[in-house]
């Protein structure tokens, strides 16, 4: 009996040894925190997990890192919430982010939709991307939730390759004195007339 089971036992023993020697086999799978989803144009090219070794201010840290190189696309960890509590309010989504070797761009983002596929406010930090190596820093995006809004989406993203650590995420209501960072409804006109006396030079 024992002799017939020898190859099976040997196989099991080898599997255990391989598992011990090469723990990355299991570590290659993303572990997404509850309430969050992994999305993007290349979600499978990124590894997402809670940092098993360190915390920030006693809170867990989410790691998002590229698994392959190059990556022509992006990955994001996101969630959607109803606007019910936030209609007509100004929201700030913020997080502490640290980066390592981010080649293209990383950041946080927020979107307000009025019905499916109808984005009415957005900031993906495209004008102030996190690149290269950076120590912990707090980043935020601020949007108005229009009374027409039906859902707010928030997320963390990485374009191309690199690694980011994210912690201390907050979604909070802020006063109208905090400027919005909306890139879709940016009012590029000055708030007051300029150069009315023609003394401030010319355009060329």
């Amino acid at each position: 009996m024992l002799s017939t089971n020898k190859p099976i036992l040997l196989g099991l023993a080898l599997s255990c040894i391989v598992g011990i020697i090469n723990p990355t086999v299991a570590a290659d799978e993303s572990v997404i925190p509850t309430g969050w989803e992994m999305k993007g144009s290349r979600p499978n090219d990124y590894l997402v997990m809670i940092d098993p070794q360190q915390k920030r201010d006693g809170k867990p840290i989410l790691i998002m890192q590229s698994k392959t190189s190059p990556i022509d696309g992006f990955g994001t960890v996101m969630q959607k919430i109803s606007t019910e509590k936030y209609l007509g309010k100004r929201l700030r989504f913020s997080a502490d982010v640290k980066s390592e070797n981010v080649v293209d761009a990383a950041g946080i983002w927020m979107r307000v939709d009025a019905g499916s596929g109808n984005t009415i406010a957005l900031d993906n930090m495209e004008k102030r991307p996190i690149k290269g190596n950076n120590d912990w820093k707090n980043y935020s995006v601020v949007l108005d939730v229009s009374p027409r809004g039906t859902q707010v989406c928030i997320g963390i993203l990485t374009h191309s390759t690199g690694k980011i650590w994210v912690s201390n995420l907050k979604l909070e209501e802020v006063g109208k004195d905090v400027p919005v960072t909306d890139i879709l409804n940016k009012d590029e006109n000055p708030t007051a007339p300029v150069n009315l006396d023609f003394t401030q030079g010319t355009n060329k």
């Binding site: 993007g40 992006f74 994001t76 996101m78 979107r111 957005l122 993906n124 495209e126 993203l157 890139i183």
Partner: protein, 101 residues
């Protein structure tokens, strides 16, 4: 001067005249004017060469200037393309975020 000496002197004078007359045509054959003509020809040839080299230099310099201008134009064109690419990439990212459901 004795008559013998005089006749001897006249003889040598006559002989010198004959020799001088015979030598003069051969000197003329060397012709310093002929030398001068060849030098003029050479000078003209060098001047032609100089002109053609100067023309060639002008032509190369003009080509260089044209290329410099073209390079400047191409750099400007490339910068426009870079700006357009950045703008399109930003737009793509916006759209990609908007597509997330």
């Amino acid at each position: 001067m004795s008559a013998e000496t005089r006749s001897c002197f006249l003889f040598y004078l006559l002989l010198f005249s004959i020799l001088l007359n015979s030598v003069t045509p051969s000197l003329a054959q060397i012709d310093p004017d002929n030398k001068s003509t060849r030098a003029k020809d050479l000078r003209a040839e060098y001047m032609d060469r100089e002109k053609s080299i100067l023309d060639a230099i002008q032509s190369v310099l003009k080509r260089r200037d044209d290329l410099e201008r073209r390079i400047t134009e191409l750099y400007a064109e490339r910068n426009k393309c870079d700006a357009a690419t950045t703008k399109l990439k930003d737009e793509l990212r916006r759209v990609q975020i908007q597509l997330l459901e």
